[in-house]
Amino acid sequence: MTVMEQRGAYRPTPPPAWQPRTDPAPLLPDALPHRVLGTDAAAEADPDLLRRLHKELVRGRRYNVQATALTKQGRLAVYPSSTGQEACEVAAALVLEERDWLFPSYRDTLAAVARGLDPVQALTLLRGDWHTGYDPREHRVAPLSTPLATQLPHAVGLAHAARLKGDDVVALALVGDGGTSEGDFHEALNFAAVWQAPVVFLVQNNGFAISVPLAKQTAAPSLAHKAVGYGMPGRLVDGNDAVAVHQVLSEAIAHARAGGGPTLVEAVTYRIDAHTNADDATRYRVDAEVEAWRAHDPVALVERELTERGLLDEAALQAVRDDAEAMAADLRERMNQDPVLDPMDLFAHVYAHPTPQLLEQESLLRAELDAEADGTLGAGPHGPEGAGR
């Protein structure tokens, strides 16, 4: 008998404890993204929620425009705009309770601001006066993460720790479509599912990772499908439909809060601006595509719904716009003031107790600053007798 003929005997028997954990069918995302606005379901959307979303969307759009303008004036080193993606940003901020945590990527300044962060503090990283301009514990917003997907395992760890402590806290982590290819994405989802951690992952699929389109990023039917392999549900949602994103995220968060474990949500959206102000988007996409997405604008979708239902008259609309304008004016004015920096801060937050080496370097800088103040900088010893300094 050949080995091939014997194959049945070679088939490994699963260890007795092994059981398929779940039927994958309920974990699979729907074929089409969940939508509310522009469908019959919109009629049931709560007017107060609609108004709240609208106000935040208008503020968010205005914020993106203002921050982009500030890069042109040299006030920000760089700004990754989320214009076109405001529905995801705003919904992410509004679905969380105060005790919950948000784990943003570098593009998600807006979500942090919509959660209540001071707009100027939220821009500290991008202005360059410090890395994180706020106390993460105060707002329960983790530092904006520049290395892709690395914030995802943090969200899992925090949610897990909260549950161990018996706290009713959920973490919501944001990541881009490109970030889903990183190992940290995989490790975070796997940990979350194994630990049944109360965490929700929101992928903002805006079509591109800088210039690379989704088709070159993954061969999966959708990014939401990736959830199934980890044993968690995947949900697909229209990322420009603020009500739909709010709904899907709320359900996922309620599921996590009730002990159901993590969910992966993919929001299909589009980045209207370039990757950042330093990027030339005409190299990798055509205007027609951008225009098609402009016709599905997240702010306009909510505005139309409110107007058609008679929930927003001209005066109310003007009030929302005035509020956004005031926020932008305040942001502009405060960002146009030069931040006051203390160079000694360089050494202040490296360790709880500075090493002897840092203390030495600190006194070198102190002496340089003093010399700068007295105008004696550069007049140091030149001969060998100065070498012992």
Binding site: T150, P153, D184, A352, P356
Partner: protein, 334 residues
């Protein structure tokens, strides 16, 4: 005189005892890693912890180093004190992104608002006949990263004391456990583990007058042996055990070299771009007028860690150290 019943303990047991005592003293201390639970770790350092404290406090994680350290970051953000085990030195590399971009920098990024009290235990170094990827000396990578403490015990008592200190530290500590010293023994009073000594202080393991051997971790016993052997040649060698590379104890090292006038740095990681270059430079800057000879280095070769049957040719041993000590007769040579 009171007599206490001293009992022998291995370094691995002392480390386990430190973990146990830290967990008993502070409910926020959590041990996690691959195989740390039921098995008690591949070196049995975490033996019994899961049984005593439960799976939630001593957790077998999925097999993913970035995930382990990344999750520890989030746990520390929420007020826990994770103690992470990386199974072997070379398997910590997948976690470097988390270590360097987040663990080392979180305090700094948040202006001190969010310190991360994480201890990362890494069984490290060679000399146990491990196959490839089980014997790396990775300290140079860690010490080049501001924001981390880099600590390595060489004695059984230090294994206990330094690990307690590391866990209590509000800063992240990379705790390098010399694998070949895991089974080294010392006797101590089991009811009263050794006093906790602060991280960042070097100690003179053996006083001497004619030259200083500056070393740490697995090379400490080798240097002590070399110092004994050198007596026959008329050398009275002082051995300084650094105990941590970050913070670095310039004071103790410089004071020793000023007394002896000669120094050799000994470590098993490669010499090029290795810790010895940094240490030699620091000594030269501080002791130039006291030096009778250049500061020499005895290090591992600048090669990927060799296969086990060749490792004895790579690791700095007594002969290579004595040879360097001989070369400290600088005047006679030049």
């Amino acid at each position: 005189m009171t007599t206490v019943a001293l009992k022998p303990a291995t370094m691995a047991q002392a480390l386990g005892r430190a973990l146990r005592d830290a967990m008993a003293a502070d409910p926020s201390v959590h041990v996690m890693g691959e195989d740390v639970g039921t098995l008690g770790g591949v070196f049995r350092v975490t033996d019994g912890l899961a049984k005593e404290f439960g799976d939630d406090r001593c957790t077998d994680t999925p097999l993913a180093e970035a995930g382990i350290l990344g999750a520890a970051v989030g746990m520390a953000m929420y007020g826990l004190r994770p103690v992470v085990e990386m199974q072997f030195d070379a398997f910590a590399y997948p976690a470097f992104e988390q270590l360097i971009s987040h663990v080392a920098k979180m305090r700094n990024r948040t202006r001190g608002a969010m310190p991360l009290p994480i201890t990362i235990r890494v069984p490290y170094g060679g000399g146990i006949g491990g196959v490839e990827h089980h014997s790396d000396s990775s300290e140079a990578y860690y010490m080049a990263t501001p924001g981390l403490h880099v600590v390595m015990p060489a004695t059984v008592s230090d294994a206990y004391g330094l690990l307690r200190e590391a866990i209590a530290s509000d800063d992240p500590v990379v705790f390098l456990e010399p694998k070949r010293l895991y089974w080294s023994k010392d006797s101590w009073n089991p009811d009263e583990p050794p006093a906790v000594e602060p991280i960042g202080r070097a100690v003179v393991r053996r006083p001497g007058r004619s030259a200083t051997l500056i070393t740490y971790g697995p090379s400490v016993p080798v240097c002590l042996e070399a110092a004994e052997a050198a007596r026959a040649e008329g050398w009275d060698l002082e051995v300084v055990d650094l105990r941590s590379l970050v913070p670095f104890d310039d004071e103790t090292v410089a004071a020793s070299v000023r007394r002896t006038g000669r120094a050799v740095v000994v470590h098993e990681s490669g010499g090029f771009g290795g810790p010895g270059g940094e240490i030699a430079a620091r000594v030269t800057e501080r002791c130039f007028h006291h030096l009778e000879a250049p500061v020499l280095r005895v290090a591992g070769f600048d090669i990927p860690y060799p296969p086990p049957m060749l490792e004895r040719h790579h690791l700095p041993g007594v002969d290579r150290i004595l040879d360097a000590v001989g070369r400290l007769q600088w005047e006679a040579q030049s």
